[in-house]
Amino acid sequence: MTTPPDTTTDRDELPVDPEALRGAVRTKYREVATDPRGEHHFHTGRYLARHLGYYDRWVAALPEPAVESFAGIANPFQLRALRRGEHVVDVGSGAGFDTFIAAHQVGSGGRVVGVDMTPEMLAKARANAALLELDHVEFREGLAEHLPVDDGWADAVISNGVFNLCPDKRAVFEEVVRVLRPGGVVQFADIANDNPVPPGAMREIDLWTG
């Protein structure tokens, strides 16, 4: 297979204004947090999770508010379950769906930090954590490019459908490697596109968020 050209960017050559893109993403996710069914024709939440291969027993244990705003695009746990006692960071944790599954896998001896930039999602995630009475889970406001986590703290970093929404991938991956301990693992799901994206499309924020 021929390696396609690197059409993504270095920090000085971002195709869109990062703040404008973040604003658009926050607006979309605010809608998903506050009105998860919204105008969508299809069921989200449990239906989507089952479709993506999450075990029913994982999802059944979660309260509806933790599931209804799920917007992942695959299942980052499917081939490597987290280990008991691990420290985990969930980048773009949303309402906490993957964070809570991670919390279940690492057990009370582990710790999971969810990071999200949308206040409505953070509020929902914290309320869900309270509902589940989880004291080894914490949600912090922050950006994927500036994770509010100490150097080398994490054994694993997870993410689901988030990195494609970040214009500066290098900054994101540098942050992920920074927060991981030596030997730590990143396991994530995202959208891949082997078709070249026209430069004009890369400048259209609406085409990043949908």
Binding site: L48, F173, P182, A189, T209
Partner: protein
């Protein structure tokens, strides 16, 4: 989806910041129906894509991939931008 990377570019970028042993563990075609299940795709956008996409592309608008990569253990070199493996 304008910010989506090609699989190989994911591996390249992970390698560039020091990750090793990047593996693509799963690929799932992301079709128009899948897009409809994804909350960020509005019905208007789905309708537009339905109008614009040729029939042969509707089952694979993009691919959902699951990847893992490791930060090298302390003391190990991490020059493995090419250390990308497809899972058999």
């Amino acid at each position: 989806v304008s910010g989506a990377l090609a699989e190989r570019v994911f591996a390249l970028k992970l390698g560039n910041v020091g990750f090793v042993d990047t593996q693509v563990l799963d690929r799932r075609p992301f079709g128009l129906d899948d897009a409809g299940r994804y909350p960020l795709f509005t019905p208007d956008l789905i309708t537009l894509m339905d109008d614009l996409l040729p029939p042969e592309r509707r089952d694979e608008v993009a691919v959902a991939v699951t990847l893992t990569a490791h930060r090298p253990p302390e003391g190990e070199a991490h020059d493995d931008a090419a250390g990308h493996h497809d899972r058999p």
